[in-house]
């Protein structure tokens, strides 16, 4: 699906609102400032996915978009493996950065992902005027590309290009970088665009 520049602007604004709410919750959890990048919309050919998401080990907290529109795609909270340790250390009051992630880390990461994804979806759903809920979370600590590839393979509609909404959230104080990525199904994307166009007309 090709988007016009107006539609891209509208989608960027949607991402902006969602990510700002997610950044606020992350900032509260870390008790520190979190900077947010400008949300990027990337249309990625699946053959070139590795140019965007590599094989580096990362923690990914993954949710399916549910609610009024079931199987709407996925929302992914991506945290590099090193940042994941720093993040849970900050929350749990630990200092050793060269330790393996244990069950407590995993629970903490799932909780962080849950809070961030819920904040993102609440804010965007409110704007769009329909209910969007995250599925129960799945935590993957593995090659990021492998997880993303597996999600793309199981999307409802087979695609050669995937649209990623990606916003980087960085906490300088604790050297933590994370990314909140939304990967909507084509039908969901169409719904987003329709709703946003109606909003723009009515405003």
């Amino acid at each position: 699906m090709k988007l016009s520049s107006v539609q891209i602007d509208a989608m960027q604004e949607l991402g902006n609102i969602g990510a700002a709410h997610a950044a606020t919750t992350l900032s509260q959890m870390l008790s520190s400032t979190v900077e947010m990048s400008v949300p990027k919309i990337k249309v990625v050919d699946v053959a070139k996915l590795a140019d965007y998401i590599g094989e580096e080990p990362a923690a990914l907290v993954i949710f399916e978009l549910q609610g009024e529109f079931p199987h709407g795609g996925y929302i992914i909270v991506y945290i590099s493996r090193k940042s994941a340790v720093r993040m849970t250390n900050t929350m749990l009051g630990l200092t050793d950065q060269n330790r393996p992630l244990n069950e407590m880390d995993e629970s903490a990461l799932i909780e962080i992902g849950n809070i961030m994804a819920s904040a993102f979806l609440d804010a965007t759903a409110e704007l769009l005027g329909f209910v969007m809920l995250p599925s129960p979370p799945t935590l993957i600590i593995d090659m990021a590309h492998a997880a993303m590839q597996s999600l793309i393979a199981q999307m409802q509609e087979e695609i050669d290009e995937v649209m990623l909404f990606s916003t980087e959230l960085v906490c300088e104080e604790h050297k933590i970088d994370s990314d909140i990525i939304m990967m909507p199904e084509v039908t969901m994307l169409k719904t987003f665009v329709e709703r946003l166009e109606n909003l723009m007309k009515s405003s």
Partner: protein
Amino acid sequence: MTETAPPNKSQVMIGIGEYHVGTSPMMTIGLGSCIGLTIYDRDLHIGAMVHIMLPESSGRTDRPGKYADSAIPLLLTKLTERGSKRSSLVAKMAGGACMFEYFGNNLNIGERNAEKVRSALAEQHIRISGEEVGGKSGRTVSFFPEEGGKVTVRSADGAAHEI
């Protein structure tokens, strides 16, 4: 980003649905449910590698490397054009993992990919001389036609081994 060794620049990177035929080292990174399939010619010392994403093409022809049922005939055609005889070819495959326990509304694509690759190779009478499929973890696969068709598999922790 610095936790794994960067891919060797001389290696041909094969993205989802892409393939390559020749003698250069080849690589598919971060396979989850996808399959990295290699076919090696023991007489000509050339090889082909493809990054398969789904089992069935269901009539689609624009990206034959993306599907198990069309990728294997594609590689065989390309190898035959270079003079390969069916009897000299051996295959290896890795990938086909099932990374998610939830999102259970989908059948196990990794397993279906591996099954389809096996049956398509059997149909063409190509023997599988090494494989590492299934499990829950991602894999990066490297293929070295000039080193006797060596295939190595690496996991997220960086440990690599030959299959």
